[in-house]
């Protein structure tokens, strides 16, 4: 997991996203090189979740271009192994497990619902993936509502990595978890990054987590990236925004409630 990356894997250029008269993204540029693990930090409500949904096309953009592995998103095929969604794994902020399906079917969803794997084989794969996130076969047969929040998050991570994606998006993987579970999940993500060699974008408010899992950090504020650099430079960024975030000060260029 070094930053000596070759080609850009995920490129966002000039993203603009408005909801009604409110501009959430205002010319956001961001690049993740192949194999990068990029942490995106920013205060609550700045548009971190919106930005990755726009990048994946889950929300329509008002302006801007998105490239994956050098190819504009619109030119990627919509189905088949080269389709963007076949190559991506996503952890949503609220886990977004399908509550009508048991955990193992959630995890194996892409394999046998839309892929070609048989049920029995998909079950095996799901159990393997669940074991990787520290959930056993008992949990595999439960429904999401029968799991705690932390277990749901782990299951959702297992679902995100089930099809060995090339691009990974984690939206706040450790928020709302106790420090020990959070550390376990951090290690898990670190592991995904090294083992799958996936290009990973992790949205987080948790600096300890960012330091552990990322090699680069970008800060989103006011609809743009205000600082980007190697994780080691987080403490000497020279950016007033990052400075304030790192030290958790209420006063500074960043206000907790962005103006609407």
């Amino acid at each position: 997991m070094t930053g000596s990356a070759q080609a850009p894997a995920i490129e966002l250029r000039g993203l603009v996203k408005r909801f009604g008269r409110k501009t959430v993204l205002d010319g956001m540029d961001l690049t993740a090189m192949a194999g990068d693990s990029l942490a995106v930090i920013g205060t609550s409500g700045t548009g971190k979740s919106v930005s990755f949904k726009c990048a994946l096309g889950l929300l329509p953009l008002d302006a801007g271009t998105v490239r994956f592995a050098g190819i504009p998103r619109d030119e990627l095929p919509s189905s088949g192994p080269q389709a963007l969604m076949r190559r991506s794994g996503v952890l949503f902020q609220g886990s977004a497990l399908f509550d009508s399906l048991p955990i193992w079917e959630n995890v194996a969803f892409a394999l046998f619902h839309t892929g070609s794997m048989r049920r029995a084989q998909a079950y095996e794969v799901a159990c393997t993936k669940l074991a990787e996130v520290g959930l056993d076969e008992r949990a595999a047969n439960l429904f999401p509502s029968e799991l705690s929040g932390g277990m749901q998050k782990r299951a959702a991570i297992a679902r995100a990595i089930a099809a060995d994606p090339e691009f990974l998006f984690f939206d706040e993987p450790t928020s709302g978890l106790d420090p020990i579970t959070a550390a376990t999940i951090n290690r898990l993500i670190e592991d995904c990054v090294t083992r799958l060699r996936a290009t990973t974008v992790t949205i987080t408010h948790d600096l300890a987590s960012a330091r552990q899992i990322a090699n680069r950090v970008a800060m989103l504020h006011g609809g743009r990236i205000v600082w980007e650099g190697p994780v080691a430079e987080l403490d000497r960024s020279g950016s007033a925004h990052v400075e304030q975030f790192v030290h958790g000060r209420a006063d500074g260029p960043v206000t907790a409630e962005p103006p609407t």
Binding site: K53, L56, L58, S79, A83, M85, R86, S88, G89, V90, F92, Q93, G94, A96, L97, F98, D99, S100, F109, A110, H113, T114, G115, R159
Partner: protein
């Protein structure tokens, strides 16, 4: 410059909003139907939805039908006895049940159950990002969620309506024989004699169309819900209201197409 707002402006806005909504529904319908005819097909889900829509609606549909048949017999007796035309009761009963009351009342009851539950389920999936998650797992939500339900709705309503027709006639039969003094054999004979194929067929066509509308409205409002639990609640209400309204309008149009000449 403009001291007074234009009194026509609100009307124009309402008309525009109505047209826009119609367009959105039409687009959603077209996309859903396209998704339904294209592979992959989720047949297992369609079977589950068939049970959900058809089988589990049987109690409420049966209850509605039997009381409708009973009331219909009582009321037509009141009316027809004034002209000494009581013998027309079986024929009036069976024709109005198969042509109109069976399909419409069944569909309205099922709309209350099924449109609401589809809208609530889909709406919850929308606000908890499960619909987005489907997309990221390479599943088209229209194919995975809407198509199986559309198929199930179109297939489940006709048999439900047939059952409602039979149960409704039985209700009428019970009252006519038990209370109004009809001969059982004569009553049933009259029913069968006056029934024509077109009565039944038009009722079944209506049923299939209503099944489509029920699922479509539930799905449409669920898909477009936003804003948490409140939004889901609103979607549920709108789904039932619009499904019921469309059922009544479609019923008139189909009746007109079959029987006006």
């Amino acid at each position: 410059m403009r001291a007074w707002p234009n009194p026509l402006a609100p009307i124009g806005r309402v008309v525009l909003e109505f047209l826009a909504a119609t367009g959105r529904v039409a687009l959603f319908t077209a996309e859903s139907v396209l998704a339904a005819v294209r592979p992959p097909y989720f047949l297992r889900l369609a079977v589950r939805q068939f049970l959900e829509i058809g089988y589990y609606s049987l109690p409420i549909v049966g209850l509605t039908a039997i009381f409708t048949g009973m009331v219909l017999a009582l009321q037509s007796y009141t009316g027809f006895s004034r002209f000494a035309a009581e013998s027309a009761i079986p024929s009036v009963l069976v024709v109005s049940l198969t042509r109109e009351l069976g399909p419409v009342l069944t569909a309205l009851m099922v709309a209350g159950r099924v449109s609401a539950s589809i809208a609530a389920e889909t709406g919850t999936m929308r606000v908890t990002e499960q619909l987005d998650a489907l997309v990221t797992l390479s599943a088209n939500p229209l194919q995975y969620l809407v198509a199986p339900r559309l198929l199930a709705g179109v297939l489940a309503l006709p048999p439900l309506v047939l059952i409602a027709d039979v149960i409704g006639t039985m209700g009428g039969f019970l009252i006519s024989v038990g209370k109004l003094g009809f001969e059982p054999g004569i009553f049933l004979n009259r029913c069968l004699e006056s029934l024509q194929t077109l009565d039944v067929v038009s009722g079944l066509v209506k049923a299939a169309v209503f099944g489509f509308l029920i699922v479509l409205m539930g799905s449409y409002h669920g898909f477009h819900s936003e804003g948490g639990a409140r939004g889901v609640g609103r979607a549920t209400t709108n789904a039932v209201m619009s499904a019921s309204a469309l059922i009544l309008v479609a019923n008139y149009l189909i009746t007109e197409a079959f029987f006006s000449r």
